[in-house]
Amino acid sequence: MVPARDALLLAAVLFALGLAGLLVRRNVIFILMSLEIMLNAAGLAFVVAGQRWGQPDGQVVFLFILTMAAAEVSVGLALVLQLYHQYKSVDVDAASRMKG
């Protein structure tokens, strides 16, 4: 069997990569993708925890995370469409009218 520690390490690495991507990219689509990567990593951590104790709870939580990710992506992409129509670009820095 795989030690839980290694699986958690994998989750950590994936999460960090997602975070880096979130902070670097200016394209909104990439930001949303990085967000998905991070959510996935978090879900992986949950599943590992559930498996370590042999309970289905980890997988249940993963299901909820999945649901939440789905809802969030649909709303987020709808917003991206609106953004594109307003500013004619997918650069997230274009929407900085809240400056100051």
Binding site: M1, A12, G18, R26, E36, I37, V47, G54, T67, A71
Partner: protein, 169 residues
């Protein structure tokens, strides 16, 4: 079985790295799909086949397809790739890179500081998960469905735009 885990893990990490650094959106999306599939394999090796299936069906199958549709609607192709290269300079990686590195270091420390690696206790089958969902987590399931409803309504409302004059009714 263990070796499968490590290979799938490596594939996941590599695919993620590539995703984050691509200039073309569609390419990045496809690499992301690969990463998700690799993670599904990881789930299977850990003894959670249910979520492995869910990962493939919903995450890689539905959510990523949603992304592809939107990219198609926005018509982001080669032209965008050029602007994207202008936006993505190597110097921009410094700050996030440092932050991510610190985070990884902290998490590694936290994870390895415990009392050695515990081993997962065998497979948890789909039946067990189903019984948990219909039992203690029933309320959570209902709430999740409410969330999806809200997401649906919001996405419909936000995605709708007034037709311009030149459009055919």
């Amino acid at each position: 079985m263990n070796i499968m885990f490590y290979i799938a893990g490596a594939v996941a990490v590599a695919a993620t790295v590539v995703t984050v650094t691509r200039l073309n959106v569609v390419h990045a999306l496809l690499y992301l799909v690969i990463s998700l599939l690799a993670v599904a394999v990881v789930f299977y090796t850990l003894g959670a086949p249910f979520v492995a299936a869910l990962e493939v069906i919903i995450y890689a199958g539905a959510i990523m397809v949603l992304f592809v549709f939107v990219v198609m609607l926005l018509n982001l192709g080669k032209a965008e790739a050029r602007t994207e290269s202008g936006l993505l300079k190597p110097s921009m990686w410094i700050g996030p890179g440092v932050l991510a590195a610190i985070l990884i270091a902290e998490l590694i420390y936290l994870v390895t500081a415990g009392t050695g690696g515990a081993y997962p206790a065998g497979m948890v089958a789909a039946q067990q998960v189903g019984m948990a969902l219909f039992g203690p987590y029933l309320l959570g399931v209902e709430l999740a469905s409410m969330l999806l409803l809200a997401g649906l309504v919001a996405a419909y409302h936000l995605g709708w735009r007034k037709p311009s004059r030149t459009e055919v009714r």
